[in-house]
């Protein structure tokens, strides 16, 4: 370990110990390097106002725990080329997953949030949580086997279909929140921690996708962005000053619950314009014989879902085009209200319907531009996401990385060089191990007597 852990007995009275003063400056230096705000020793000395010896000492410490790399050279401005100080994104990996209504995505990312590999497959989230946990564990182990043999695992981050209440006490999960039905009875977070020995983060899929879009998609470099996911549920994520806005309870953007009207019908946005509504309208159009393509689907024994309506619309089916246009207009009206309130520079529409189809996007655009104040709409860009479900995986990785390197968290583990040394994590692992032990020791229920039912 570096000299900031030197024996305190040699120090003079009254002077603070290095082990007490080092963490704050280590945290500051590491985060400046990680976010590329400072890229040389000279930058660090100037930006942190720390002395040359202190900066050198802290960099030596960070070097020793492989969190920075000083092998590269920068551009010389007269004299010798300065050594670049770069964050070692390959120091560890983060396992990521997205849980959607009908699909499951998994992947692995480095500490820079770069997705190294991903896999998506259909899944049924209404099944037992234990099955979901087994599938996640199997896929995570497969990825670790393929990708992470030489790297430590520092976290697991999962995006979920429902909102995750903001845990203000810590930046990683201390227990399994009841995000989905059944989760209140199954310790998913604890099982993953036990299996992979690392902290776990959870975020809503809309929040994770917003983070992903901001980090690696169309929102890169944006200060203010509104992200809207259209599926069975309709939700929005808000980025303000390049930061995800989470609100008081982590429940920002539940716009699917906003009431909307269409003729004499009134309902929530989700029930009137979500994928279930699109599918239902499609089935009705097929039954009425208004849509030749959808009627043909039914005649061939196929069940109509929202994606088929979208495909029929893309192929020119007039009834399907009207269904998607109507959905786009309703979504656009609600987004326009938000846009007038928040004045975003970019609105990104995501979700399989919005991404596979231009009609919904065009109708939403028309409604938004038509209802926005000229100042709001003047430079406003409305686009569809290009990242698909990958945005959820990238966003999940970003969530874990921001959690790991948040100064209040980082301070607790930086001296040990790995987040598993965080006191909350170690106590949590002890608790989980004790619970597992007591479960294993629990006496078997008495055997039934003969003749008992």
């Amino acid at each position: 370990m570096a000299n900031f852990q030197a024996d305190s007995s040699t120090r003079r009275r009254g002077r603070s110990r290095t082990s007490e003063t080092a963490p704050p400056s280590l945290v500051e230096i590491l985060n400046r390097v990680r976010t590329e705000h400072s890229t040389t020793r000279q930058d660090l000395e100037r930006d942190t106002e720390l002395g040359r010896a202190v900066v050198a000492d802290r960099l030596a410490a960070l070097n020793e725990i492989d969190l920075i790399d000083e092998s590269g050279l920068g551009v010389a401005s007269g004299g010798r080329a300065p050594r670049l100080v770069r964050f070692s994104t390959e120091r560890a990996h983060i396992l990521v997953a997205t849980l959607d209504q009908h699909a499951l995505g998994v992947g692995i990312a480095d500490l820079g949030g770069r997705l190294i590999m991903e896999h998506h497959e259909e899944a049924d989230l209404t099944g037992p949580v234990s099955m979901l946990c087994d599938r996640l564990t199997t896929l995570f182990r497969w990825i670790m086997d393929r990708q992470s043999a030489k790297h430590e695992l520092w976290g697991i981050s999962i995006s979920t279909p429902g909102a995750v209440a903001d845990g203000t006490e810590t930046l990683f999960q201390l227990s399994t929140p009841p995000v989905l039905p059944g989760w209140e009875h199954f310790p998913l977070v604890e099982r993953l921690m036990e299996a992979f020995h690392c902290p776990v983060w959870l975020r809503s899929s809309v929040e994770a996708m917003t983070m992903g879009e901001l980090h690696a998609g169309s929102g890169t470099g944006c200060r203010t962005m509104l992200f809207v996911k259209v599926g069975k549920r309709i939700g929005a994520g808000l980025v303000s000053e390049k930061v995800l806005f989470r609100g008081a309870q982590g429940a920002v953007g539940l716009i699917g619950s906003v009431p909307v009207s269409l003729g004499d019908r009134t309902g929530t946005l989700e029930s009137m314009a979500g994928s279930d509504a699109i599918a239902e309208e499609g089935r009705a159009a097929a039954e009425r014989g208004q849509s030749p393509l959808l009627t043909d689907f039914v005649r061939r024994g196929q069940e109509i879902d929202a994606l088929q309506v979208a495909q029929a619309a893309q192929l020119g089916d007039r009834a399907a085009i009207e269904i998607l246009s109507q959905s786009g207009r309703l979504i656009g009206q609600v987004i326009a209200t938000l846009a007038n309130m928040l004045n975003p520079e970019l609105i990104v529409l995501s979700g399989s319907i919005a991404q596979s189809n231009d009609i919904l996007l065009a109708a939403a655009r028309e409604a938004i531009y038509g209802a926005c104040h000229p100042l709001v709409s003047r430079d406003l860009q409305i686009i569809r996401s290009q990242m698909g479900s990958s945005s959820g995986l990238v966003g999940a990785a970003t969530t874990a990385i921001e959690g790991l390197f948040a100064p209040s968290t980082l301070r607790e583990w930086i001296m040990a060089g790995r987040p598993q040394a965080h006191p909350l994590f170690t106590s949590l692992m002890t608790r989980i191990a004790t619970e597992v032990q007591s479960d294993n020791k629990a006496p078997n229920p008495p055997a039934k007597k003969r003749g008992e039912a």
């Binding site: 699909a103 590999m117 896999h119 998506h120 497959e121 991404q355 596979s356 290009q386 698909g388 479900s389």
Partner: protein, 334 residues
């Protein structure tokens, strides 16, 4: 036949009919004098030859000139060099089968940055996004192929059997999907089976890896190999060792078809449709060049092939008569 897998970014598959070229499309394309370059992982395998036939032929029918077909020899550096050379020649589009992920990602990103349309086959390098870095991915339903192989092999192995899997040691979307699907099907439907995986980096290692599996697993009854060329190498080793191991694989190359017809150790093939894949990739390329929107992922279903239907499957997939040796083995000729 439905598509069971999801795309590289979780997309739902679009059918090849989405990129169907109408007579007016062909007429417009013929007057535009488009130029296209092609970079393949190899040009010598049966699969690659079929793909090229469908691709180049359909492009020709649309009046598109193919100015280069590069054989990247499964090597990242060769592909990077080929793509950079192609970019210099400024074709209207490049059709590429990326041989790796992260290693070739930047070279593929340079294509769209140079104003050239990129159509990908089978694999998307890490970090590339549809509509931004590439137009569309055209591939088989590799997840479905893996499931198909598992289901067919399952019928040839007893309860509690040991099954080996010869997997590819490269981060490649298509083979990853096949491997994940094979394992998933077995875990759900045949939890009694013990699965053991060994990986090979090059086709030439497949025989050696098979020998290791045979030594390590004296009770091995079945073997899944992620594509046909290494599978035929594995079959030779198994026959030479005198072991009774049933093999299932993916892709119906000529050698695999003949082996299958012989009723030997190769018991089933989940076949891609490379000729049709090539045709679809060509249609997608022309569609993109005409400025029309394409789905992010177009997928073709697989075809289950057994010794019983190998002749007609060969004809359907290869669009040509089965070779004489295959017909001899099936005793259809003397």
């Amino acid at each position: 036949m439905t598509i069971t897998g999801l795309g590289p970014h979780g997309e739902h598959a679009s059918a090849p009919e989405r990129v169907l070229l109408l007579p007016e499309d062909l007429a417009r394309s013929r007057t535009a004098e488009f130029r296209v370059a092609i970079a393949l992982h190899t040009t010598v395998s049966d699969w690659a030859k079929q793909l090229q036939a469908g691709l180049v032929g359909t492009l020709g029918g649309a009046g598109v000139a193919v100015i280069e077909v590069a054989d990247c020899a499964f090597t990242s550096d060769v592909q990077i060099e080929a793509l950079d050379r192609m970019i210099q020649n400024a074709p209207d589009a490049i059709v590429s089968l990326p041989v790796a992920n992260a290693k070739v990602a930047d070279a593929h990103k340079r294509i769209a940055a140079g104003g050239i349309k990129l159509i990908l086959l089978d694999n998307v390098p890490t970090g590339l996004l549809p509509a931004k870095d590439y137009v569309s991915l055209i591939s088989a339903d590799n997840f479905g192929l893996g499931k198909m192989a598992a289901e067919s092999l399952s019928a040839h192995v007893a309860y509690g059997a040991t099954v080996g899997m010869l997997a590819y040691d490269a981060d490649f979307f298509a083979t990853n999907e096949r491997e994940i699907a094979f394992i998933k099907w077995m875990q759900i439907n045949r939890p009694d089976i013990r699965l053991v995986t060994r990986r090979f980096s090059e086709v030439s290692e497949a025989g050696r890896s098979t020998r290791v599996l045979l030594d390590e697993l004296p009770a091995m009854e079945g073997l899944f190999v992620v594509w046909d060329t290494p599978a035929t190498e594995a079959a030779k080793v198994i026959v030479a060792a005198g072991r009774a191991v049933s093999i299932a694989t993916i892709d119906l190359g000529k050698a695999a078809a003949i082996e299958l017809a012989a009723g030997g150790v190769l018991v089933s093939v989940a076949a891609q449709q490379p000729f049709r894949l090539g045709q679809t990739a060509a249609s997608a390329t022309v569609t993109a060049l005409l400025g029309r929107i394409l789905p992010a992922w177009v997928a073709l279903p697989g075809i289950p092939v057994t010794p019983d239907n190998v002749v007609e499957s060969f004809q359907a997939i290869w669009q040509s008569p089965a070779p004489r040796e295959l017909l001899l083995r099936k005793r259809l000729i003397e």
